[in-house]
């Protein structure tokens, strides 16, 4: 009990940072990623080409390298001071947008082509058909993979320990070295990660069921 009283607050503070980072990055990732997904299936070739390069770069390099490049590279190259937390949010969000983009693209392409054709044959424009017919259906299909993406994001956010942000895993390291007992520190961290990922999955499951009964 003493252990918890002394170390609990630090671990929870770390968990709060991890959660904040994940939620903000996921918000950016989903917003930007939806646009990326739409651009990936755009009828306009140049847009598709540009966005596919964007996706390839983000998926083809480690998140950690992207993070280090932005946090240490930008100040050196451009002389800007960056706030580590804000930078990490943006880096994670942008990275996630590539994965979300692929999820959204796959979700849309999994729909019957006849849906778009039926909408267009009524006289709807491409944009109207997307908004009224395609996206609402794709939305339901992308919830499960998007939840996966959010869980991945939460777990991978541990790389921010590299840029001196005190997230959950960094807090656990501090506790471990302060108490000379690594095992309980990391076990606590694992338990907190699990609670957070489990909560995300449960909330998503409820959302999905809610939509299905419509």
């Amino acid at each position: 009990m003493d252990y918890l009283a002394q170390n609990g607050p630090l671990l929870l503070k770390g968990a709060a940072l991890t959660l904040q980072l994940t939620v903000l990055a996921a918000a950016i990732g989903i917003t930007l990623g939806t646009l990326v997904g739409l651009a990936r299936i755009s009828p306009w070739d140049p847009l598709r080409a540009v966005v596919s390069v964007y996706v390839e770069i983000l998926r083809g390099t480690p998140l950690m390298v992207q993070l280090l490049l932005i946090v240490y590279g930008i100040p050196q190259a451009l002389g800007w001071q960056v706030n580590e937390f804000h930078t990490a949010v943006v880096a994670f969000g942008v990275n996630s947008s590539a994965y979300v983009g692929e999820i959204v693209r796959a979700g849309i392409q999994s729909l019957d082509r006849g849906q778009m054709e039926a909408a267009r044959s009524l006289g709807m424009s491409y944009g109207q058909a997307m908004r009224q017919v395609i996206l609402p259906q794709a939305f339901r299909r992308v919830i499960p993979p998007l939840v996966n993406e959010a869980v991945t994001l939460l777990k991978e956010s541990s790389v921010v320990a590299m840029i001196a942000l005190t997230d959950l895993i960094r807090s656990a390291q501090l506790v471990a070295s302060r108490t000379y007992k690594p095992f309980p520190a990391y076990l606590s961290a694992a338990a907190i990660y699990l609670v957070m990922t489990f909560t995300i999955s449960r909330l998503a499951g409820r959302l999905e069921r809610g939509l299905r009964t419509e």
Partner: protein
């Protein structure tokens, strides 16, 4: 109303339409028959440019069919299309499906769109299914909703692509009955169908397509009872044999 001249369509190396000429006058009912793969669907889909013709000219109500943009959307709104597999929007109720065109395309108020959609569901005999989702309806009911959805745009002509081919035999009649009602109201219609009885009864003209050409056309009595072309006779022989 609809005029097609020298229409050719290639998918890669495969030439599916090889020079089709067709004129459909206002109020006319044209039925298109022919074996699988002869290009019937492709012809229909070129008329509202779901497929881009490779060559040829299509004119709708005297205007060349636009190649894209808002102008094409406007023409499509005036050509109702009914698909073999219905393609209702599964996340909308029957009523919402029928309202979707007037709401989104014609920018009608919800009240006006609802009133019109309800009247159309009554017309196709589905007033009691207004709040059902497509997944809760039989194939015949779905197809009738799809017809109502197309009619909601007050089209000048309707294109049907094998509207009863995906239906269980006992559900075919209810869809044909709705279509006959449209015929009686003087709707201009192009109907790709394997329902020879229907074609014989309602068509002003029957076209027989094979290999990307219109092989033979004429009044149903002529095409069905005294076909000139050997290929037409062979096709009809096979179809009528299947029908028993």
């Amino acid at each position: 109303m609809i005029r097609v001249e020298g229409l050719r369509k290639k998918f890669g190396d495969l030439e599916v339409l090889r020079g089709v000429d067709l004129e459909v006058r206002a109020g006319e009912v044209v039925c298109v028959i022919g074996p699988s793969g002869s290009g019937k669907s492709t012809l229909l889909r070129c008329i509202n440019r779901l497929e881009d013709p490779t060559e040829g000219v299509i004119t709708i109500a005297g205007e060349p069919l636009p190649t894209g943009g808002k102008a094409l959307d406007r023409v499509r709104a005036e050509l109702g299309m009914v698909f073999q597999r219905f393609h209702l929007f599964p996340h909308m109720t029957a009523l919402e499906n029928v309202m979707s065109g007037p709401l989104t395309v014609q920018k009608k108020t919800a009240a006006a769109a609802r009133e019109r959609a309800s009247a159309l569901l009554v017309k196709v005999g589905l007033a009691d299914k207004a709040s059902s989702y497509p997944g809760q309806l039989s194939g015949g009911q779905q197809q009738r909703v799809a017809i109502a959805r197309a009619l909601a745009m007050e089209p000048k002509a309707m294109l049907f692509d094998e509207p009863t081919s995906a239906l269980d035999p006992e559900l075919v009649g209810e869809v044909l009955a709705v279509m006959k009602q449209l015929v009686a109201e003087g709707m201009t219609m192009v109907v790709v169908t394997h329902e020879m009885g229907f074609a014989r009864e309602v068509a002003d003209r029957v076209l027989f397509m094979d290999g990307g050409f219109i092989v033979e056309e004429g009044p149903p009595q002529v095409v069905f009872d005294r076909p000139r072309e050997a290929r037409t006779r062979a096709f009809l022989g096979k179809v009528l044999q299947c029908a028993g």
